[in-house]
């Protein structure tokens, strides 16, 4: 139990870090996934292999990278290779255990939208687009997603499927011939959602300390299912908070 105060964002980041097992080969998106992966590598997962789409394999950044092509990623990597190779030989070939993604919008089957809010040809908000996410979501063994929970972000159905989660649910991924298991955890500032074993609909399985189920429901744009045995996330330890804050301060 922590002696230190912490924010909901810090809880989210630490919960995401915990989701990364030691020895895991992880394709890391920039931003929150990268922060979480680097905390994990400094805590319980020293042998996690971090891969960035800029071509860095086994990156060991000494501070948080400011971008996907930060020099701190290449400088201490096991190998730096061309971008076509990272996507073809490493991601596409199914060599990556876990894809670690952020999202602008997510729906109840964990499909991700980072392209456009509103119609594609007459956008309300134009977002950056796909980047590496569609093939990370398709080809990694499993996918962890992390983003803040709100009704704006958690919608019944995304306006644009940038990266396929569980599609229309059930065995949709398998029917499409996708190899990876797809999203297995969505970690937010309020709790953790996991796809139901059968329907693949995102279900609240854990809430962070001090958060109520009602709060999570209110921040979700669909009628949220809650697991029968709802867990409460362990609060951040002092060690976790210290490592996270040192890492952020150094960056």
């Amino acid at each position: 139990m922590s002696e230190l105060e912490y924010t909901t964002d810090e809880m989210m980041t630490i919960a995401a870090a915990r989701a990364l097992g030691d020895g895991t080969v992880c394709f890391v998106g920039i931003g929150l996934p990268s922060t979480a992966a680097n905390i994990a590598r400094r805590m319980h997962a020293p042998n996690a292999v971090l891969i960035y789409e800029s071509g860095c394999i086994g990156a060991k950044p000494t501070r948080l990278p400011a971008s996907i092509g930060d020099g701190v990623l290449s400088e201490f990597a096991d190998a730096v290779i061309a971008v076509p190779e990272i996507f073809a030989y490493w991601l596409q070939a199914g060599r990556i255990d876990v894809g670690f993604l952020g999202a602008a919008q997510i729906d109840k089957f964990a499909n991700i939208n980072t392209t456009v809010i509103g119609p594609y040809d007459d956008p309300k908000v134009r977002l950056p687009g796909a980047g590496g996410a569609p093939e990370i979501a398709a080809n990694c063994g499993s996918v962890i997603i992390t983003l803040r929970q709100s009704t704006r972000a958690f919608v019944e159905q995304v306006d644009f499927v940038t990266s396929l989660g569980h599609g229309e649910g059930g065995d949709h991924r398998a029917r499409l011939g996708l190899r990876g298991a797809g999203p297995t955890e969505v970690i937010t500032d309020l709790g953790v959602l996991r796809p139901d074993a059968t329907t693949r609909e995102l279900t609240l399985t854990s809430i962070h300390p001090g958060v109520t189920v009602e709060q999570v429901r209110d921040a979700t744009g669909w009628d949220l299912c809650v697991a029968d045995r709802l867990e409460v996330t362990d609060p951040p330890t002092d060690d976790e908070l210290r490592v996270m804050r040192e890492l952020k301060a150094a960056s």
Partner: protein, 266 residues
């Protein structure tokens, strides 16, 4: 065979209105100086391609150089949106631009196919996403051996490819290292290639991940120290993160952007 040219001369000689041009770079080694020279020379009607159109493409778009953008991720990395790009797409300012949108894996494969002299590339990609509904250059292809369905994308073959590298030798051979993205592919896929470099050296030192492009696949080498600024050149400069942060405000406002263009052009 590479000629050593001034950057303005190289852009004047090789980049013309209405062409297909690519300035590649992946956070590292982005050819900003070349992009600014294109703005200075007032090129228009360009089709531009890049995996990660960032500030330099935002600037080209805002300055009215671009009529079509082929890309896979358009943002200000670590900061937010590209407001000039958004303004062009959403409001048609300063003119409408057409977009052709892919994923990184698809764009990387398109560059590979372009460099390899193939008309198309193949990947496991886009399945189940909305991208194929909006992008005509994403089509299914069947493996003739297994019957499996995959995705085909057309090669990228710009008229002119522009990159920034650390060094050239006196013969015009080019060397870059660190994160080199798709720059080799961009040069090899393009009819003409312009490379800006930090400096000219007598001989190249060995570098882990060093990539050498021989002089005979490069048309112009331009010595432009700091030519990647605000991006960085491993071994020469650090990324100017405050510039990226400050761009958010400049890019957000048409007038402030206009002032920026005037400054660049003066």
């Amino acid at each position: 065979m590479a000629d050593f040219l001034d950057l303005p001369e190289a852009i004047e000689r090789y980049v013309h209105d209405g062409q297909f041009v690519a300035l590649e770079g992946f956070t590292h080694l982005i050819p900003f100086a070349a992009g600014h020279e294109i703005i200075r020379q007032g090129r228009t009607g360009l089709t531009v391609a890049r995996m990660t159109p960032d500030l330099v493409y935002d600037q080209l778009i805002g300055a009215g150089c671009v009529s079509k953008l082929i890309f896979s991720w358009g943002g200000n990395p670590g900061v937010g949106s590209l407001h000039r790009m958004r303004d062009a797409i959403q409001e048609g300012w300063p003119g409408p631009i057409e977009i052709e949108e892919h994923s990184h894996a698809g764009m990387a494969e398109r560059w590979r196919a372009g460099a390899a002299g193939l008309p198309f590339g193949v990947l496991r990609g886009y399945v189940g996403t909305s991208l194929p509904e909006h992008t005509e250059t994403i089509v299914p292809i069947t493996c003739p051996f297994t019957g499996e369905q995959l995705t085909a994308v057309p090669a990228l073959n710009p008229d002119v490819g522009i990159i920034h590298a650390q060094q050239a030798d006196r013969d015009g051979n080019v060397m870059m290292w660190g994160i080199t993205g798709v720059q080799k592919e961009c040069v090899l896929a393009s009819t003409r290639a312009i490379v800006t470099v930090e400096e000219v050296v007598d001989t190249f030192e060995p570098h882990v991940n060093g990539v050498v492009l021989p002089a005979w696949v490069v048309d112009a080498v331009c010595v432009v120290p700091g030519g990647a600024h605000p991006s960085y050149a491993d071994g020469y400069s650090e990324r100017d993160n405050p510039y990226y942060a400050a761009w958010d405000e400049i890019g957000r406002d048409r007038d402030r952007f206009g002032e920026w263009v005037e400054e660049v052009c003066s």
